[in-house]
Symmetry: C2
Subunit: 197 residues, 2 copies
């Protein structure tokens, strides 16, 4: 049972306060890395007090799990086309996200993968977050199969893994080379991998 | 001109000493991250003196560039099949590297990509290292085209980007999920992406 569960259902104000802490922590950890972000930094950035933070979280380790959930929600919220049946439209919408204002960007969730490797609790949580993203892609692909634009002979769950690998590797290389064309190639490949016929 | 260039051609002993420093730094930075590795850690791990290290490197920033080169050489040396013409054999050899002894492993070069994002000199060097890897893959694919087992209608350089993206994303997800099957799927997809017919 977490501290939060012990204290009963949170109020709306409590939820906002908790969310402000998580959002500040997420921004810092995304920019500087998990290891370089201390509880003190999060308190200063969120303008919350120590006792308030410890009301919601056992400590930094607990906060990292909430940050991973927060990043997953951001990532999924930015991809409404995941609820559709058109893989090509989804890939195009991803590309749009990275086209302007300093993109291609690192993946807000993917950047943590190498940083959670040594902490089994963090790693399992990050793995679970990616599994949820993969499930959403598998749903898109299954609807694509029903619509006739995705290869019907492959398991949507298997295809979802290779599509997400192409997206993650493509974002990593595009960001590294500061070259949007790389993302274009990787997303095109992801679409090619799943298409019917 | 670097310190090393200024001091004339290195002796065999000098090369070994420099290499020992770089190997120790690479091991530490791969395990802990670049930010968490100080010059003092490298001196202790390599058993070299401060003046010796500063004979070869201006400082940590310089050492990071040498570590990136070192990791690229390790990565390429582990893939002799890159010199061939058989993409499938190359993919199978990659899979073998990750099958035993605690694999799937993180990519020794790829793990640095998110860590060099804020330092333009490091990022450009890491980008150059990945460009060299891509060139080697493009060579493999061009020979595969000549041998008739790679799609002749695509540019080898473009295909190399999507293949390396699949490998990097596949390694990231396989390591995260601690699941070799994920690497299997990603490498299979990379082979599918380039094959003729």
């Amino acid at each position: 049972m977490t501290v939060e569960e012990a204290s009963g259902p949170p109020t709306a104000r409590g939820r906002r306060s908790r969310e402000a802490i998580v959002a500040a922590a997420a921004e810092l950890m995304e920019a500087r890395g998990i290891a370089a972000t201390g509880i003190g930094d999060v308190l200063r950035a969120s303008g919350t007090g120590k006792s308030q933070l410890y009301h919601y979280f056992d400590g930094k380790s607990d906060l990292v799990l909430a940050v991973i959930d927060h990043q997953l929600e951001r990532v999924l919220a930015a991809q409404p086309a995941l609820a559709g049946h058109d893989v090509r439209a989804w890939a195009a919408s991803l590309w749009e996200l990275h086209r302007d204002g300093g993109g291609p960007f690192p993946c807000p969730l993917g950047v943590f993968s190498s940083q959670v490797d040594d902490d089994e609790r963090w790693r399992a949580h990050q793995s679970g977050a990616f599994a949820r993203w993969q499930e959403r892609i598998a749903g898109l692909l299954a609807r694509g199969q029903a619509a006739g634009n995705v290869d019907p002979t492959r398991e949507p769950a298997d295809l979802a893994v290779v599509v997400l690998a192409a997206v993650q590797g493509g974002l990593m290389l595009a960001r590294l080379h500061r070259d949007l064309h790389v993302l274009d190639l990787a997303l095109g490949a992801a679409v090619d991998l799943v298409r019917a016929g």
